[in-house]
């Protein structure tokens, strides 16, 4: 049994809000899309791989990233769409690495199409072309601070899903931290590597944000119960 200790450092909950910016760059086929993915800023890659999580957070399982959706639904390239949708985003600790994986997957497919003589690349109509958009993130404190996991779980129940989103997705991938903020704090400040590991093992990309909240509340709640027995 383990007692609940006061954390060495308190956990400050932040939230993030997004503003979308148009780049003016467009693609009507796979080659243009590939060139775009190679050239655009990391904020554009981030936008198209994470927008669904924010805008469709109530759906489960979430629709795939924008690239996969467009390739499947608009170009009708189902195999490639599935390959892009199933890229295991959680594995990547930087946008750079994620971009490389997207490029590699597209290059491989285009190469195979050429090798097999399927040189006819499909293009979308002008109406349905792909528009590259970027995300500008504004990060602000939510006003909530936890000094131990009991306070943490109570706050977690009431913060916005934007706050959960920030600490789980944005902190890890966009700010290039090695693990999500919750796991890091529980590991380093609460000295509970076992619980931290459990939170780290969750694949947040396969949950809705509300589902993820419930899962984390449940895991931390169990640990609190164990300590109280």
């Amino acid at each position: 049994m383990r007692k609940i200790k006061k954390a060495e450092q308190p956990f400050t909950f932040y939230t993030r809000l997004h503003l979308q910016e148009l780049t003016g760059r467009k693609a009507r086929g796979l080659k243009e899309l590939l060139e775009g993915i190679r050239d655009v800023s990391g904020s554009v890659i981030y936008h198209h791989t994470h927008r669904f999580l924010q805008q469709h957070q109530f759906l489960s399982p979430e629709p795939p990233n924008d690239f996969a959706y467009w390739i499947t639904e608009i170009l009708g390239e189902h195999k490639l769409g599935e390959e892009l949708a199933s890229i295991d985003t959680i594995q990547f600790s930087s946008i750079r690495a994620l971009r490389n994986k997207l490029v590699e997957t597209l290059e491989k497919h285009i190469g195979q199409m050429k090798d097999t003589g399927q040189g006819q690349f499909r293009v979308s109509t002008v109406e349905e072309q792909f528009h590259f958009v970027k995300t500008v993130s504004f990060i602000l404190p939510s006003g909530y601070v936890a000094r131990d996991i009991v306070e943490f779980v109570e706050i977690l129940k009431k913060v916005t899903i934007d706050s959960i989103y920030f600490h789980v997705f944005e902190a890890k991938l966009r700010l290039e931290k090695q693990m999500n903020d919750f796991s890091y704090w529980i590991d380093t400040s609460c000295a509970d590597p076992e619980l931290a590991q459990k939170l780290s093992r969750l694949d947040p990309y396969t949950h809705t944000l509300e589902g993820l909240r419930a899962k984390i509340v449940n895991l931390v709640g169990k640990r609190i119960e164990e300590a109280r027995v």
Binding site: L19, K26, Q54, Q55, Y69, H131, V136, S137, T160, R174
Partner: protein, 406 residues
């Protein structure tokens, strides 16, 4: 309306976030300028936004340029050209546009930290920018400029590029510009007559008024009588569905007095409908928001079979009412409907009929799709999101990074 009126719909956290953002902009003077105080979507949005911005602690103003009738004929032409219409601005039209702008430049108070200019009519006010060192200028384009007429766009572009930032409503309206282009889609007000909750009695009385029976599935398209909304195609869709499912169709919308084509379209629609008692062609007057709301709420399926669209707020309204929507993949519609997630997208008459049949025969699927659609609109296309985007836009004028700690 007050911010607290929206809390039961969007939740306390959303309102708190707005207050937090606004506290970082406290007391900034935001001066909105457009060309009309009443009528049209821009005036409607400004009439709701301005008091809410003031409630949040900004000092928001809304000013309207002064102009004569002839000026508006020119700007209407410019508007149509930006939509892609083939036409040419004459030198005298250009002169009138510029003279009116110069007169307003002399007479308007344009002091403030943020000058927020809406649409092309007041665009040349930006000439004042160099005299007002501490002001930031935003140009908000509410028009579909996905395929603009080149002359119209080339005429406006040098003015647009004098602004600090531009704002467009859809990714497909993006342009090549040397200033930032922010994407802020429009929104609906869930508390307006067009969107508020209605009692069963109000809905039933609207149905009785229009002679619509309740025991047959109802397909509804709300839009003005315009070829671009394809009302004739909608009747074809209904007939394909009717072969298998006994249903009714409502085509309801206004006939704009300034659009002589609309009465021609209406008579063609009536002719195509013939004497079918299950087709209801309703040319409703402008102030019929509650009736339109009731028709949308009574619908089994909502259609928007447009050939071209701006953002298509009728789709937003339908989804907000948790209705399954089948709509063409044009303009801003794909932004609102992710196929099979928040509604269904179609590209042909046959395809539209196919999806309508599927929905009418699978009420559980239709219900789930409608509920997902409502949630999507709640998260992304209500007035509070629009307000939040404006606050973020204002903040972005003072921060030049992709990740900003505020």
């Amino acid at each position: 309306m007050k911010l607290s009126d929206y809390e039961p719909i969007v939740g306390k956290n959303v309102i708190e976030e707005l207050k937090q953002l606004a506290s970082r902009l406290s007391a900034k003077v935001v001066r909105n300028v457009n060309s009309t105080a009443v009528g049209g979507g821009v005036a409607e949005i400004l009439s709701r936004m301005t008091p809410l911005l003031n409630e949040l602690g900004l000092r928001a103003h809304w000013d309207v340029i002064k102009a004569e009738g002839e000026f508006f004929s020119v700007t209407k032409k410019l508007h149509n050209m930006l939509h892609g219409k083939k036409a040419e601005l004459t030198q005298s039209e250009i002169d009138l546009f510029l003279e009116t702008g110069e007169k307003n430049l002399k007479n308007m108070d344009l002091r403030g930290e943020i000058i927020f200019v809406h649409d092309p009519q007041p665009i040349i006010l930006v000439k004042k920018k160099s005299q007002l060192k501490k002001s930031n200028w935003i140009w908000r384009c509410h028009i579909d400029v996905s395929q603009p007429n080149k002359q119209a766009w080339d005429f406006l572009k040098p003015y647009i590029e004098q602004y600090d930032v531009s704002v467009f409503s859809s990714p497909s309206f993006a342009q090549t510009l040397n200033i930032r282009q922010v994407l802020i889609p429009p929104s609906i007000d869930p508390l307006s007559d067009k969107n508020k909750e209605l009692s069963g009695e109000t809905i039933n009385s609207a149905l009785r008024k229009f002679g619509i029976v309740e025991d047959k599935p109802l397909i509804v398209q709300i839009s003005r009588f315009d070829y671009l909304k394809d009302p004739l195609g909608v009747i074809d869709v209904y007939r394909l569905v009717k072969k298998y499912i006994d249903c009714q169709l409502v085509l309801a919308g206004g006939t704009a007095t300034d659009d002589p084509e609309s009465s021609k379209v209406l008579s063609e629609v009536r002719e195509r409908a013939g004497r079918d008692p299950d087709i209801h062609i309703l040319a409703v007057p402008a102030a019929s928001d509650i009736e339109i709301n009731a028709l949308q709420r009574a619908a089994s399926v909502i259609l928007q079979k447009s050939i071209r669209e701006g953002f298509a707020l009728t789709v937003t309204e339908g989804l907000w009412k948790a209705k399954p929507v089948v709509a063409s993949a044009v303009g801003g519609i794909p932004m609102q409907i992710r196929h099979k997630f928040s509604g269904l997208l179609s590209r042909t008459t046959e395809g539209t009929a196919y999806w309508v049949k599927q929905l009418l025969n699978s009420p559980e699927y239709a219900k789930a799709l409608g509920e997902a659609g409502r949630e999507y609109i709640k998260q992304n296309f209500l007035l509070t999101r629009h307000l939040r985007d404006y606050l973020l836009l204002f903040l972005s004028l003072y921060h030049n990074k992709d990740i900003v700690n505020i």
